[in-house]
């Protein structure tokens, strides 16, 4: 491309593609060609404003100008309106950074997503990429771990365990081979921040994992990616190849003499493999069944070796901590929830997408100020936060603050930060039944409370709904939930009672006989 060519951004994010971004991109390339206009088409990640996808941006001399909901049929008129120079058009949004939805976010982890070419190492570095790893390479392993610990970063996969403590355990072990494993088995409904990051800024994840490897002395990393994410799979493989080619992965990371290899492994459609010990068994080529703990994966993890295993967003939060310092990151957030959380607005909301905010924002602000209320226009009746194992919350709980402890205090779970909204047409007894049904489908089968309890749970809820010995069966369901909660080996069986019991507690009227 010549120096005079204008950059046009059309997302290659899976949601944007599902909304037609591919044909929009093709139409732009084709129209530019037939009109003899020199453009450079960049396939970026999504800015996270799904109601505007496909969102096209033109890099004009005065900055990037966005146009929303651009279908292929609109492309000719965009050229007519000279969108390459920010011309007026019905779909013109203006500068994304000036939109109030975007302006008030605190994008640390997602700083580059939607901005850069996801696969370009040069673009990554030009936007602050690899600054964290460069710093890390000049530090001792202990100092890197200390920075992560001091930042207050907690596991973003849902369990919220302090990341630095995990890393420190692995650092303190001596072993021939240690591993860094990324849990990219993002199976919780309502969550897509891992996917967006892997598609929109995969090098950020690669950088975070490399820092972890350098810190604890691990030379091999694996990204365990769910098979339902074909777009992320392609993006990761391409970004890894580019990182190798540019000397940022391999036997001599950036001339430091440190060795770090990275490979993507595909899961195979098992929700339970998002549980870290199941994931490790799956990576070893076995059935993805939960392991007893202890031993912790940090001591005996993949192939019995010390293993750092973290979620995508945990790893992707590390580069900025090593770049800007632990204090910089720690200054965001409240209480024991430090830093920012990429929150995902999903389900029945008008403006769904990705909102990265410091901890402390309320559910209500997210649902109404960011989410714009329901998509259907009906009242929001219930929200489920934290995936299929998260409690259902009614309107009276919407002032809950995004903070691990605040959610726990309400018997709920912040989890991976996915928020699913339902309008008033939802049948909460049906949702409770589904929670048990899902557990039955996805249980690994190792422990009885989960494997059998979930099937019995479906049956008991069916009897309650059919009006058969209701009082007895409510008591039985309570008892069953108690057994699952306290007797299950992992969170799958242990937390399935949360959506069930919260549905009964807050939406009892839906359990009436019909």
């Amino acid at each position: 491309m010549s120096a005079s060519s204008i950059k046009i951004y059309v997302p290659c994010d899976a949601t944007a593609l599902a909304l037609g971004a591919e044909s929009t991109a093709r139409a732009i390339a084709e129209t530019a060609r037939t009109r003899g206009i020199d453009i450079e088409l960049v396939r970026n990640g999504s800015r996270g404003m799904f109601w505007l996808e496909p969102l096209v941006e033109a890099a004009t001399p005065g900055g990037r100008v966005a146009y929303g909901l651009v279908k292929s049929a609109d492309v000719a008129s965009l050229f007519d309106a000279d969108f390459l120079h920010g011309g007026a058009h019905g779909s013109r949004v203006g500068a994304i950074e000036e939109q109030s939805w975007f302006k008030h976010q605190e994008r640390l982890c997602f700083a580059r997503v939607g901005v850069t070419d996801p696969l370009s190492v040069d673009d990554f570095i030009a936007h602050g990429g690899y600054a964290g790893l460069r710093n890390a390479l000049s530090l001792s392993g202990a100092d890197i771990v200390k920075a992560v610990t001091d930042s207050g970063l907690r596991g973003r996969g849902g369990a919220a365990f302090p990341t630095g403590i995990k890393w420190n355990t692995v650092l303190g072990t001596s072993a021939e081979q240690k591993y860094v494993v990324c849990n990219a088995d993002e199976g919780d409904s309502g969550t897509f921040s891992d996917r967006m990051l892997m598609e929109g800024d995969p090098l950020c994840l690669i950088e975070g994992m490399t820092i972890a490897g350098v810190a604890v002395g691990a030379t091999q990393g694996y990204i365990y990616l769910r098979s339902e994410y074909p777009h992320a799979h392609r993006a990761l493989n391409a970004a890894i190849a580019n990182a190798y080619a540019a000397g940022w992965l391999g036997a001599d990371v950036c001339g430091s003499g440190k060795h770090f290899d990275l490979e993507v492994r595909r899961g195979a459609g098992a929700y339970i493999c998002g549980e870290e010990t199941s994931l490790l068994d799956s990576l070893e080529g076995k059935r993805g069944q939960v392991r007893f703990k202890p031993p912790l994966p940090a001591i005996k993890g993949l192939f019995g070796q010390p293993t750092v295993i973290n979620n995508v967003i945990s790893f992707a939060s590390v580069p900025i901590i090593l770049d800007r310092g632990a204090q910089f990151y720690r200054d965001y957030g409240i209480g024991r929830s430090r830093g920012t959380l990429p929150i995902q607005l999903a389900g029945n909301l008008k403006r769904t997408g990705l909102v990265e905010k410091a901890f402390g924002v309320t559910l209500r602000e997210l649902l109404y100020d960011y989410g714009g209320g329901s998509f259907s226009g009906r009242p929001i009746r219930a929200v489920q936060v934290g995936g299929p194992l998260g409690a259902y919350l009614p309107e009276s709980q919407f002032d809950t603050v995004v903070d691990y402890e605040a959610f726990a205090a309400n018997g709920a779970m912040l989890g991976h930060g996915g928020i699913v909204a339902f309008d008033d047409t939802v049948d909460m007894a049906e949702q409770a039944r589904y929670a048990m049904e899902f557990c039955a489908v996805e249980s690994c089968g190792k422990c009885t409370p989960c494997r059998i309890g979930s099937i019995r749970g479906v049956e008991v809820i069916d009897r309650i709904r059919a009006g058969i010995e209701r009082e007895k069966n409510f008591a039985l369901l309570d008892d069953l939930c108690d057994t699952m909660r306290n007797g299950s080996l992992c969170a799958m069986g242990g937390l399935t009672p949360d959506p069930v019991l919260s549905a009964i507690k807050y939406f009892a009227e839906d359990f009436a006989v019909r």
Binding site: A14, T15, L17, F192, E228, G347
Partner: protein, 176 residues
């Protein structure tokens, strides 16, 4: 709720990949050669076989076990554990409908019922003309714009109304 999966056929099952019938022989040998050096090679091998053939043939399990020095029971246990692996060839297009909560909030239950009714099949079944296999899936990461449908593990569709579903099924039939 897991679908009934593989019936192990012991008689006539070869332990040698080289003795499998084509195109299985080529797919299994290629998958093993490309992955056997990897630690934890079984899943990558099963993926490679299914990517090539559309399913993991039950008659290939003994050969895979033999090559990896595993028992046939171990391989059978793994292949049946994961929802992703099929034991019979799918239709010419695989249509997966998301059943998870975020899609439910936007009408996935109605879409699921519509799909089963109009195609005349249940989940894990294939239409009589061999065109469409219908499968459930639990989240496609498109939770902001459901109901979501994935075709052939590659082509994602958002905001799929029953009418949009009919259109994409028609397109899938035409394409194959």
């Amino acid at each position: 709720m897991k679908p009934a999966k593989i019936n192990v056929v012991v008689e006539g099952t070869t332990r040698k990949a080289s003795e499998l019938a084509e195109p299985m022989r080529q797919a299994v040998i290629t998958a093993i050669d490309a992955n056997r050096h990897k630690p934890g090679a079984l899943l990558p091998i099963l993926h490679a076989v299914q990517d090539a053939l559309g399913y993991v043939p039950p008659e290939s399990l003994a050969a895979i076990a033999h090559e990896l020095n595993l028992t046939r029971a171990e391989v059978y246990g793994v292949v049946t554990f994961y929802h992703h692996f099929r034991d019979k060839p799918p239709g010419r297009a695989v249509v997966q409908i998301c059943r998870a909560e975020a899609c439910q909030a936007l009408g996935a239950r109605a879409l699921e019922a519509h799909a089963k009714r109009t195609l005349g099949i249940d989940f894990h079944e294939t239409t009589a003309d061999g065109a469409i296999t219908l499968e459930p899936v639990y989240c496609l990461g498109n939770c902001g714009c459901g109901p979501s449908v994935l075709v052939d593990n590659d082509e994602l569709h958002a905001r799929v109304t029953p009418a949009a579903f009919d259109k994409l099924v028609k397109a899938a039939r035409m394409a194959t």
